[in-house]
């Protein structure tokens, strides 16, 4: 089962490439009740405590495929479903040391059956969770 919050505690860990720690990742679920086509997503921003990570440092892994925001914008036929955890991968050489962090995440998305005004409002609350890096 999924945790209630958008940001899940399971999956918060550093990421390696060629033996080097190149960043960290965490997993999220869709709080939007019908999930999203990847192209509905607008670029995400992440904060760790006070440090901001812009969209260019972030990729998403959904159904085992990893996408940049530019790539997602073109994927109108890949669906991020309610039971699919998405992994948010953040570039940060050296990663995060052991400890407790406040993680924040923000992104919006379009919803065509609602007035266009709503597209910039839906999902615009920031998701926050304190997570432990072991």
């Amino acid at each position: 089962m999924l945790e209630r919050d958008c940001i899940q505690s399971r999956g918060f860990q550093n990421t390696e490439k060629d033996g080097q720690i190149v960043g960290f990742q965490f997993t999220i679920r869709s709080l939007y009740y019908r999930g999203l086509w990847l192209s509905q997503l607008r670029p995400a921003t992440v904060w760790v405590n006070t440090e901001e990570f812009g969209p260019e440092t972030i990729t998403w892994t959904i159904k085992r495929q990893t996408y940049t925001h530019e790539e997602m914008a073109k994927c109108g036929d890949i669906h991020w479903g309610l039971l699919d955890l998405a992994t948010i991968n953040v570039e940060k050489p050296g990663g995060l040391g052991p400890g407790l962090y406040e993680i924040r995440l923000s992104y919006t998305y379009s919803a065509s059956y609602l007035p266009p005004r709503i597209d910039t409002l839906l999902g615009n609350q920031t998701h926050v969770r304190k997570l432990v890096m072991v």
């Binding site: 089962m1 209630r4 192209s39 036929d77 669906h79 479903g81 309610l82 379009s110 065509s112 007035p115």
Partner: protein
């Protein structure tokens, strides 16, 4: 196979359980819950409730029918969308919209659904559909016939029955003579008491339809969203005049499912929706006699 008796029948939209789905309830738990209330009709939202949508696995489709049989449920309505603002900065073309429709026709048909709640993209605050809607709906009619489905836009507040949009839909049905396009009425259009959202900036002034207007439209209505906001301890709905609605349905011998759709104040609290839906089903049973 059991034959449904004519008249208004009880059903539930799985959307009601949005706060629990995947977190405290699996689809099986939700269907068990609905069955235990004596409801038989079922609405799912394709995007929400079909794992790996739009490519459900064969194993899941098999499981789907096992669950329907286990819980004696009828697949009544399949919710889907034409996501006109799918890509940033432009609207879907007529061809793209048609492709989106046909993809869902196939899945709905495979899962045993005939009625589709077809949500169209909108362009303004009163939910006027995109300009090319007639073109892609017209183009979809032969496919709807092939896959034996009826596309039903949902008439949803703040839209009212007397709006130009509803008139246009009906004219389209009359002119084409199609049996594959109709309406889903969301009873939220009869809501008489304001909600906090009605005073939000950008919203049109609060208006609602009267149940007594509904009769005229019923020949086009394949399915209703029995929307509700809050059920009291006395098993009464506090915002929407259900007795008058059901009177009109009975007066016109309307035949179809009323799908309980909870959209109240406690959607995130585990178990709350289930209790509210159960109260709502108890009320419907009292009103429609079964």
């Amino acid at each position: 196979m059991r034959i449904d008796k004519p008249g208004a029948k009880r059903g539930v939209s799985v959307f009601s359980y949005a706060g629990d789905y995947g977190v405290t309830m699996q689809l099986e738990d939700i269907l068990a819950d609905i069955h235990n209330m004596g409801a038989r009709g079922l609405e799912i939202l394709a995007n929400s409730h079909i794992p790996d949508y739009p490519h459900p696995s064969e194993a899941w489709v098999e499981r789907w029918f096992e669950l329907l049989n286990k819980f004696d449920l009828v697949p009544v309505e399949y919710g889907h969308w034409v996501d006109s603002r799918l890509y940033a900065g432009r609207e879907l073309t007529t061809e793209e919209s048609l492709a989106m429709l046909v993809r869902d026709f196939k899945i709905a048909h495979m899962l045993g659904f005939r009625i589709l709640r077809t949500k169209l993209g909108v362009i303004d605050e009163t939910l006027t559909p995109v300009q090319n809607w007639k073109e892609f709906i017209q183009a979809a009619l032969p496919y709807a016939e092939k896959y034996d489905v009826v596309m039903c836009p949902e008439i949803h507040e703040p839209t009212t029955l007397d709006s130009a949009m509803v008139q246009e839909y009906i004219e389209f049905i009359e002119q084409t003579g199609t049996k594959h396009f109709g309406l889903n009425i969301d009873f939220g259009i009869f809501r008489e008491k304001k909600l906090p959202k009605d005073d939000e900036k950008g919203r049109p002034p609060f208006r609602h339809s009267r149940p007594e207007e509904l009769g005229l439209y019923l020949p086009y209505v394949y399915c209703c969203h029995a929307k509700f906001i809050e059920m009291s301890d006395d098993l009464e709905e506090l915002y929407i005049p259900y007795e008058r609605i059901v009177s009109v349905l009975e007066e016109h011998n309307w035949d179809g499912y009323l799908l309980s759709e909870y959209e109240g104040f406690h959607r995130g609290e585990p178990g709350y929706a289930s209790d509210q839906v159960r109260r709502h089903q108890a009320m419907l049973k009292r009103l429609i006699g079964e």
